[in-house]
């Protein structure tokens, strides 16, 4: 399964080549052109010569994880992270570097800690990865500072329609775009697979300057807090209710005209959808929104519980409906000449 292959490959910010390779192999036969830019973004165009409106689809390839800062005298790897709540790190397995050296993030035995100590959050600087090396030299043969460590988490289905995996943010977006590119749509579509979203929307700040589209649809995995005891108004999104349409976030406002058009598309086609009910966060949309004179953006996202953790959870139906709505909307957008011929 595509999403399994995508989530089980590693792509930390700046090290996306593994994921990019998977995507390139998937889309090669379905696009007219494909290139990797200076930031490592993958940009592909389908039906390059088709006339009519031009939609660009954007998703990011990178995921959160750890970086090896160095190796201590006993052969443990000291780490740093960006975008990972250190509280989720203790007692996890990771795969270090290109050669996927298995390692574990150890933690002090329960009986040797005080209750006061256990009340404090774990800190990244106090944790280390154990690959089983007994000395610094031994570890240095396998790992070097700067190597990344990705969460080791298997893609699996469980519960009612649920999927657990790491990096659903934003391999779900990548998978939706791949699905569109593999379809036989006749319209001109650009696909942008960005690098380094998780460290400050960096890949897209370069790719946005290379994309001249009438509309950008940014596809994401987004916050979902429909979990135990969270009141309805703080859930942001609810699983099973379909793709989440963005309203606004810290860096973009998603225009009403397009929001309403996508809502209409969903209703006309009987596809469930919901709003992303928060103004928090920021996505690659920010760069497309403001690049070269400004462009309208739409944000569509698959609700993901426990985002930025090795055990993100999504509802398969939301993922499928996100793909369906994206496809239907592209069709609608083209048939109305870019919403210009709306009745």
């Amino acid at each position: 399964m595509l999403l399994k292959r995508l989530t089980e490959s590693a792509g930390l910010p700046g090290f996306e080549s593994g994921v990019r390779g998977v995507i390139m192999a998937e889309i090669k036969a379905h696009v007219d052109s494909m290139r990797v830019d200076r930031m490592g973004n993958l940009i592909a165009v389908k039906n390059e010569r088709a006339s009519g409106p031009h939609i660009a689809l954007s998703a990011h390839m990178d995921e959160v994880g750890l970086a090896v800062k160095g190796i201590d005298s006993d052969g443990y790897l000291r780490v740093a992270s960006w975008g990972v709540d250190p509280r989720i790190l203790p007692a996890k397995t990771v795969l270090v570097g290109k050669n996927k050296i298995p390692g574990v993030i150890g933690f002090k035995p329960w009986r040797l800690t005080s209750e006061a100590e256990r009340d404090k959050a774990a800190k990244t600087e106090d944790l280390s990865i154990d690959i089983g090396a007994f000395t610094k030299e031994e570890a240095a043969e396998l790992v070097s500072p700067g190597d990344y460590a990705a969460f080791d988490s298997e893609f699996m289905e469980f519960g009612a329609h649920k999927i657990k995996a790491k990096a659903l943010d934003d391999r779900v977006g990548c998978a939706v775009i791949i699905g569109i590119l593999q379809s036989n749509m006749p319209y001109k579509i650009s696909a942008v697979f960005n690098t380094q979203e998780e460290v400050g929307l960096r890949g897209s700040s370069a790719s946005a300057n290379q994309i001249f589209a009438d509309l950008v649809i940014n596809l994401e995995g987004t916050i979902c807090a429909d979990t135990s005891g969270v009141p309805e108004h703080l859930r942001v999104t609810t699983q099973g209710m379909g793709p989440a349409i963005s309203l606004s976030d810290r860096t973009s406002v998603y225009f009403k005209k397009y929001r309403e058009a996508i809502l209409k598309t969903a209703r006309d086609n009987g596809i469930p959808c919901q709003f992303r009910q928060t103004g928090m966060g920021g996505t690659d949309s920010a760069n497309f929104h403001a690049a070269h004179g400004g462009a309208p953006v739409i944000g569509l996202a698959v609700p993901c519980r426990y985002i930025h953790s090795p055990v993100s959870v999504m509802d398969k139906r939301d993922f499928e409906n996100t793909g369906a709505l994206t496809a239907k909307f592209i069709e609608y957008f083209n048939q109305t000449g870019g919403l210009g011929r709306e009745s």
Partner: protein
């Protein structure tokens, strides 16, 4: 100074991405004096008065701190996200006015609401997530007849001008007033002048980021408010801006260090024309000059700011004398050749 126009521009409601009312007003004011007017994809207004010299962009913004409804509960209470740098204490207890959304006959009337806070036992723990809007509805169904998810609103509050000061939730548009008046009053300019009224300042300056690319200016001067440091808070009194001391020439804020060439040029212009000025050095304040000066490979940028108190609150205050000095300065600047500044 045309206080009536100041009152009008500041008194309109223009939440980020819903700047239509101000956009219409600006276009109306400038349609007869500008050589070209266009509205860009984000809704910013770009008005050009042609000249032979370098491209000079005067930029301001049209929007104001605002809110977007993102949830309606079963009892008809509204939850929202905010756009702009607004603190919990500034929002709580304020009155808001909704933009007419969705449009419809019954909605043409102004609808107001109040921002209230859930009862929290430990008051210290109360934060943004506990705030909600109460517009007097009793059910979700009732609320949905008047307001949709994605609907926008701004702080409610009369725009008050007395002989000395202006208080207005839309005070940030004093810069737009200065630019509109300048564009109207200026004679021919030696510069190719672009007056840009940006949308979406409060969404990380999205409007300014987009329009600077479109205009691609040689020089930029940004007109905005600046926090006045003369309030009773000893921690910031070491900073220089004082309401009543005239237009503030921006040296730096937390998003930009202005180009020395422009700082001197603006200062010289003020001196030559007897405009009362001071200098702005702000610490935790960002302005449109930030994204503008790093755009397109670098745009030498300066700023003229109007000192204001309570800048990130529902009811900011500025002194009319400072607005007047800023307007005079803008007018002199627009008519002076921006030559060899870099």
């Amino acid at each position: 100074m045309n206080l009536e126009l100041l009152q009008k521009i500041c008194g309109l409601a223009a939440p980020s991405s819903g700047e239509g009312a101000v956009r219409d007003c600006v276009i109306d004011l400038l349609k007869d004096v500008a050589d070209e007017i266009k509205v860009d994809p984000l809704g910013s207004v770009i008005a050009r008065k042609k000249g032979a010299g370098p491209k000079v962009m005067f930029a301001c913004h049209m929007d104001q701190p605002s809110f977007m409804i993102n949830f309606i509960d079963k009892d008809g209470f509204l939850r929202f996200s905010h756009m702009g740098k607004l603190a919990f204490e500034q929002i709580r207890g304020q009155r808001v006015v909704f933009q007419n959304d969705p449009p419809g006959e019954s909605l043409r009337s102004v609808m107001t609401g109040v921002i209230a806070c859930e009862k929290i036992r430990d008051k210290q723990q109360a934060s943004m997530i506990h705030l909600y809007m109460d517009a007097g509805f009793r059910s979700r169904e009732e609320a949905e007849k008047h307001i949709a998810i994605g609907g926008l609103c701004v702080f409610a509050g009369e725009t008050v001008i007395d002989g000395r000061k202006i208080i207005s939730p839309g005070l940030g548009r004093a810069g737009a007033f200065v630019l509109a008046e300048t564009a109207k009053a200026m004679q021919s300019s030696p510069n190719d002048m672009y007056f840009v009224f940006n949308a979406q300042r409060e969404v990380d300056f999205a409007g300014a980021k987009a329009s600077v690319w479109t205009v691609s200016p040689d020089y930029a001067v940004c007109f905005d408010l600046a926090p006045s440091h003369d309030i009773p808070s000893p921690e910031i009194q070491q900073l220089p801006v004082r309401a009543g001391n005239g237009a503030a020439i921006k040296i730096k804020d937390s998003s930009v260090i202005c180009h020395p060439g422009l700082i001197h040029f603006i200062e010289d212009t003020a001196k030559e024309n007897g405009v009362r000025v001071q200098f702005e050095i702000s610490e935790s304040f960002q302005s449109g000059a930030g994204p503008v000066h790093t755009a397109n490979g670098g745009v030498p940028a300066g700023g003229v700011s109007i000192p204001a108190r309570g800048i990130d609150s529902a009811h900011p205050i500025a002194l009319l004398s400072d607005i007047e000095e800023s307007l005079r300065l803008a007018l002199h600047l627009a008519q002076k050749p921006f030559e060899n500044l870099v």
